[in-house]
Symmetry: C2
Subunit: 334 residues, 2 copies
Amino acid sequence: MSPTLSRADANTLSLRHLYAPIADELRQVEDLLRSQMRSQHAYVDELVRYGCLLGGKRLRPALVLLAGRAVGHIAPQHVPLAAVIEMVHTASLIHDDVLDDADIRRHLATVNSRWDNKTSVLLGDFLFTHAFCLASSVGSVWACRELSSATNTVCEGELRQKGTRGEYGLSEADYLDIIAAKTAALYACSCSIGAHFGGASESWTERFALFGRDLGIAFQIVDDVLDLAGDEQTVGKSLGTDLAQHKLTLPLIHVLGSADPADRQRVLAILQRQGNHRQQALVPYFQRYDAFAYAYDVARRYTQQAAQRLDGLPPSAACERLQELTEFVITRSV
Amino acid sequence: MSPTLSRADANTLSLRHLYAPIADELRQVEDLLRSQMRSQHAYVDELVRYGCLLGGKRLRPALVLLAGRAVGHIAPQHVPLAAVIEMVHTASLIHDDVLDDADIRRHLATVNSRWDNKTSVLLGDFLFTHAFCLASSVGSVWACRELSSATNTVCEGELRQKGTRGEYGLSEADYLDIIAAKTAALYACSCSIGAHFGGASESWTERFALFGRDLGIAFQIVDDVLDLAGDEQTVGKSLGTDLAQHKLTLPLIHVLGSADPADRQRVLAILQRQGNHRQQALVPYFQRYDAFAYAYDVARRYTQQAAQRLDGLPPSAACERLQELTEFVITRSV
């Protein structure tokens, strides 16, 4: 690898490798997204096209396609449903950025910062409903049910997280339960839809759902660590929003749970402070209690469990890439 | 009628009469809404149950049921799909109140004023996705497609309206086109779903969709007049939000289009003013150009057209109530 490559480039290269078995279909998803995210009304069109740019790694559509290929074949339903899931994800990002008062997403101004919160609300709604429209055009009630149920679980998870803001006694189990809903449900749905339309049995479809769930939980744990410790330039989105919004994530839950009483009081005092200096003030405590390493250990337990879920699948490039994806989720810096 | 009855009571009585042929089924819709709008998580449960109270006249579910009964029968799909449409409507009201900075809805504090805008965003999303979940449980891809397509049209209409705020040259045709999307699409969908599952032919289903569309346009014109001229106590929601948000509605479009140049300049000058005194200052112009009467005339053209759409239906109580509903939409004060 050239020494001038940034970590972001390394990640991109790595994604190219991971997505190789489904590169053509992923391009079709991209084309479909670009053609679907349009409107005949100029103002709406500008917004929707901008929204399309805010998606990132296209991990969820890639999972739909890799799961299909790993169990059998890519069916006509895969590409539109992969696009649907990316659209749902984009809608939820646009609403998340309102919740987090975030300014930057994928190196671009968020919709709320470039326009305003009200525009974000409507654009998110437009994308959610457009996604369900496209889903129903596929003609499978099963897919409509899976997608709407997963999306509803995501929204419930978001509401639960909102309800626990500032609750510094939140347990690790509750945190994991919330991220299983708000993040992992859509990963699970991507994998089960991919497997189902690839021709998997019901029991393999269920195993793929669990693979996606484990992967999604690990992904979110790492996302939360990056929010505390990542580099905004590399990650390409506003960071530090969890602390700003009094959202508890695993490193902090670990510190609060394992610190001695005096340190715990100091950490709680820092969390009550106004302003943006909390993050800096917490660094010594994250270090003293190995908080990031702890979070990565938990995430790794989930990715190892995810990888085991696929034991028994016939060997294929797609299956190998799914196994490697579990590693990518942990090592990524974007 | 007792002389002590307020106009709101008169409206309520009138609704009881209009809903008589489907009173039992409407109660089932209400029960289903109450049982569906729950969560096992206390914080989410409180919000969702509160959201359930914000709906109002249940006009859309009533249309689903009356359309079914008018063409034939009430099928098992009618009650859940009527609940779905009310849920979609409630979700969009909760997001609307964020857009309009509204404080009061159905005589209650709005979600954004009792909690905050962020909670409203998430609760609306939860209800939208829950509605699609319930819709897919009915097992009809056709229904999923109708509902998601109508809801997407609603969102596009809302975005278009947001894009035209402060555009004082907006034409009457563009205004009608926008309200046909943001309001009438869900009315049309209610009627076509009701007719379809009642056993109507494709052409009758289409006629019911047009009936709903006409009714919805008239409903919104009157809603916009009430926003300018209604009594907040009677209507039970925040009024004056259209002027505050620089949203053009029919009375104002009519004044701007028919006033002499000097009056037009004065009206435009009032609209540019800061603060909440615009409404009062505009009253003489609304009067001079008969703006409210003009708007009611346009609304009446739509309700008359709506009534004609049903010509040829076999006579029934449901059909009569649908005809009377076109009158209610014009004469209502809530």
